[in-house]
């Protein structure tokens, strides 16, 4: 017979880590509360008959939050065979509050004191045996992270579940409370089938829990009668019923702690010392800004960039030198050949333009590969003669003649297709469509993985929890709750779980606003696009990628301030109570697993949705109507393509933003299927005209390029995330409001960036700049206008 064991405990006490260790599952683990919003099931590795259920973290069995409702309903209605109550050993007192309630449920309980490695490191001592005697349930010391005590805890839970003999709660309340509880039980609970749970129901009725009154179907007469008992007790104890129960529980816990825990005498812990700096009123924000700058700088510009260059130019390009053997010699030879060729080309250009040969020293253009900036260098006629002789006597160096040369995937595929005499249309579809599109997206995998390693580390070590705490201080000033920042933290991986995490926000208006703004934070899928814009338009400038993240935060804060001043979102922010977990070094396995999960989903998407999209984009790019006939187009005819027709019909929308051409327009549209599609689409369209980065560089100015980046970062997310918004809003009108707001806000920000930005980039003050300035004024008005609805 199967046994079902539920893991219940406070948020961030290690339930999901324990669940993963017991089931071999890969559920997301974060070092902040609220990671698990709904319960998850898995089979115990050591015995497939045992099912482990991971419940959301809760502080009590009162229905204050969604997690508490989910956990409580599961425990009462589903009745697992046993409960493993996971307790954070470093914070026993607060964790035992839930324990005092769980043992009243009439379900066998086993207590797992987790994080014993940290307890021991701190020099504290917990007397498990004594604790077991005090509470009346087995207590086992474990460390889910270090795989310690796991078998023992499951064995104890299985034994308790099989015996099906629930513990009798040892705790007794004050006499007058017990008197009231006895009355309540007698009045309406004596006929409940499971008599073990009668006491828990009576306590909840004493606390005036409306959901339980409803569940038991009590008549108004009975409720009135119970009210008399409660009021009589409240009068006697001079407090309200809920506070009486809470106070009594904490008194009981105090006596347990005194007898079972010995704390080592010491000053500030390492975590406290770090927090004095990291959460400091003045230093917190600059530190956060520096941390995120480093994360994006390293991911996109340095380590990630080197790896991505290799992936883009090597694996998905012409090829690469194995272990860089021969690479240096080839580069030197290529540089020498190019330098001579440039002098010859420069000379020929002058002849072509002026019709006369230079008579002395002349200038020739040299373009910087990274920035595309053109500089002029001088050469003499002797230099020209020498260069001409070199070019004529040498062939352009072939990388395959140096070291061990591995051709790139497109070269292999092309050679294969040529070998079987494949039709040009099919060859074009595979090379210019699938390989170019999917390759362009996959080329960014190294950058994605580096970013995910950083994010996983920051989450697991406990820093991101501090960020929520820091942001709460700022958000609160603008009428937002720091609780809104948790979904945004999760949204850096993928917007969908981020949107779902907004469920933990009790205040409906705050929740809706969080759903609307969560996807402003760049998710992993947007990173290839950010990196592409940074590399192609801004010559790999280090500030572009971090600015995308900070633009997201700016959008969230400004939206929060403006929306809070509207009738729809007015109201005080919900209080944000969050425990700051102790800092700890995450395990390498945990960080790598988190990175791989997110990275793998990116790769999977490239092989499915993106691949299908590239086929459609290729077809729409290379087929169209020329001279009244629908035909396959040459590369210089793609202005007549289906995609061009669609893009041209909508491009007017983006003219004020500086990218009103059909190419950028269709890339923005295909980005709605999946944000990586922007990269794939641009690779196909611009690839048709030559080098993707060079064509892209010539299609955008700095101002229009950044406006393009900003619009696509802030506008409506992919369809999957839109589905999540629709579901979480649970209202079609609200869904369209959210999408409309995101697109409108993105458009306005794009307008400001382009119209005002071009003044600073030397493109001059135009009529459009007035609109840009007017948009800034509207934005400032929205931020500073009098708040009629919040007092």
């Amino acid at each position: 017979m199967g046994i079902r064991i539920a893991l219940a405990g406070n948020p961030n006490c290690g339930k999901t880590t324990l669940f993963n260790a017991l089931t071999g599952s890969n559920q997301f683990v974060g070092n902040w509360p609220g990671v698990t919003v709904e319960y998850k099931e898995g089979k115990y590795k050591g015995d497939k008959e045992v099912t482990i259920v991971d419940l959301p973290g809760i502080y009590s069995l009162s229905p204050y939050t969604l997690e508490e409702v989910v956990s409580r309903n599961y425990l009462i209605d589903e009745k697992p065979d046993a409960i493993i109550n996971v307790i954070d050993g470093t914070n026993l007192e607060r964790n035992l509050y839930l324990t005092t309630q769980i043992v009243e449920l009439g379900i066998p309980v086993v207590i797992a004191i987790n994080m014993m490695d940290v307890v021991e490191k701190n020099g504290d001592k917990i007397y498990a045996k004594k604790l077991s005697e005090e509470i009346g349930v087995p207590v086992i010391e474990i460390s889910a992270l270090k795989n310690r005590g796991l078998k023992e805890i499951v064995d104890a839970a299985v034994k308790a579940g099989k015996e099906a003999n629930p513990q009798s709660p040892k705790h007794r309340f004050d006499g007058s409370v017990e008197h009231a509880l006895a009355h309540i039980e007698e009045l309406c609970l004596h006929n409940i089938d499971d008599e073990n749970v009668q006491r828990w129901y009576s306590i909840k009725l004493f606390e005036r829990d409306e959901k339980i009154q409803e569940k038991l179907g009590l008549s108004s007469d009975v409720i009135e009668h119970i009210e008399k008992d409660i009021k009589s007790c409240e009068k006697e104890m001079d407090d309200d019923s809920e506070s009486i129960i809470t106070g009594e529980r904490y008194n009981y816990i105090g006596t347990i702690i005194n007898g079972c825990v010995k704390k080592a005498a010491k000053g500030l812990t390492t975590s406290d010392k770090i927090d004095q700096i990291v959460t400091n009123r003045f230093l917190a924000l600059p530190i956060f800004a520096v941390v995120m700058f480093i994360v994006y700088y390293v991911s996109v510009t340095t380590v990630g960039s080197w790896a991505t260059d290799w992936a883009n130019d090597g694996v998905f390009g012409d090829g690469w030198h194995l272990f860089a053997i021969g690479s240096k010699a080839y580069t030197e030879a290529a540089d020498e050949y190019t330098a001579n060729q440039l002098i010859v080309d420069g000379y020929d250009l002058i002849v072509e333009e002026t019709g006369a040969e230079p008579t002395g020293e002349f200038e020739y253009p040299v373009e910087d590969e990274e920035t595309a900036a053109v500089e002029y260098e001088k050469a003499t006629l002797d230099d020209y003669e020498a260069a001409k002789a070199y070019v004529e006597s040498n062939e352009e160096p072939d990388p395959a003649n140096y070291g061990v040369w591995i051709p790139g995937i497109p070269v292999f595929v092309e050679a294969g297709l040529d070998a079987i005499n494949c039709n040009d249309v099919v060859k074009g579809l595979i090379l210019d469509g699938i390989v170019a599109g999917v390759g362009a997206v996959l080329g960014f995998v190294p950058q994605i993985l580096v970013l995910f390693i950083f994010l996983a580390f920051l989450e697991a070590c406990g820093y991101m929890a501090r960020v929520a705490f820091i942001m709460d201080r700022i958000f609160r000033k603008f009428g937002l709750s720091g609780k809104s920042f948790i979904p945004m933290l999760i949204g850096t991986g993928c917007g969908i779980p981020g949107i779902m995490a907004s469920r933990t926000i009790e205040n409906d208006r705050d929740r809706k606003m969080t759903i609307m703004t969560t996807t402003f934070i760049p998710c992993g899928a947007k990173l290839p696009f950010i990196a592409m814009v940074a590399g192609a338009i801004f010559g790999g400038a280090a500030w572009v990628a971090p600015s995308a993240y900070f633009l997201g935060i700016f959008a969230i804060i400004t939206s929060g301030i403006m929306l809070k001043k509207t009738k729809m979102f007015a109201g005080d922010p919900a209080p944000f109570v969050m425990e700051l977990p102790a800092y700890h070094w995450p395990t390498v396995g945990n960080v790598l697993r988190s990175m791989w999960e997110r990275g793998w989903s990116f790769i999977k998407k490239a092989g499915t949705i993106i691949l299908l999209s590239t086929i459609v984009v290729w077809f729409c790019t290379f087929f169209g109507v020329v001279d009244g006939a629908f035909t396959m187009l040459e590369e210089d005819q793609i202005d007549h393509s289906i995609l061009a027709a669609i893009g041209k019909a909508l491009a007017w929308i983006f003219i004020p933003l500086g990218f009103g051409d059909w190419e950028a327009t269709v890339a923005s549209i295909t980005g709605l299927v999946a944000k990586e599609n922007i990269v794939g689409t641009l690779a196909i369209i611009y690839g048709a005209s030559g080098d993707v980065y060079e064509t892209m560089r010539s299609a955008f100015t700095n101002a229009s390029g950044f406006a393009f980046l900003a619009f696509n970062l802030l506008c409506a997310p992919c369809f999957a995330a839109m589905g999540a918004i629709k579901r979480e809003m649970n209202n079609t009108k609200w869904f369209w409001r959210a999408i409309g707001y995101q697109c409108g806000f993105a458009w306005v920000i794009g307008l400001i960036i382009y119209q005002v930005g071009k003044v600073f980039t030397g493109e001059g003050f135009t009529f459009g700049t007035i609109f840009g300035l007017a948009a800034i004024c509207c934005l400032i008005y929205g931020l500073v206008r009098k708040d009629k609805y919040n007092k």
């Binding site: 919003v37 079987i420 579809l429 993928c494 969908i496 092989g607 949705i609 299908l612 999957a720 579901r727």
Partner: protein, 44 residues
């Protein structure tokens, strides 16, 4: 002949992708989301 083989392979790949997407959708998963959303229904 070579072209026909390539088209067949392509068709098989596209068919397999569509099939896997439909199956994943039925399982309650979505390739755009890395998490196990079999319980969430967030993508439907």
């Amino acid at each position: 002949m070579g072209t026909a083989i390539v088209i067949l392979i392509l068709a098989a790949i596209v068919g397999a992708i569509i099939r896997s997407l439909v199956k994943a959708h039925k399982r309650g998963e979505h390739p755009a989301c890395g998490g196990d959303c079999s319980h969430c229904g967030g993508c439907h």
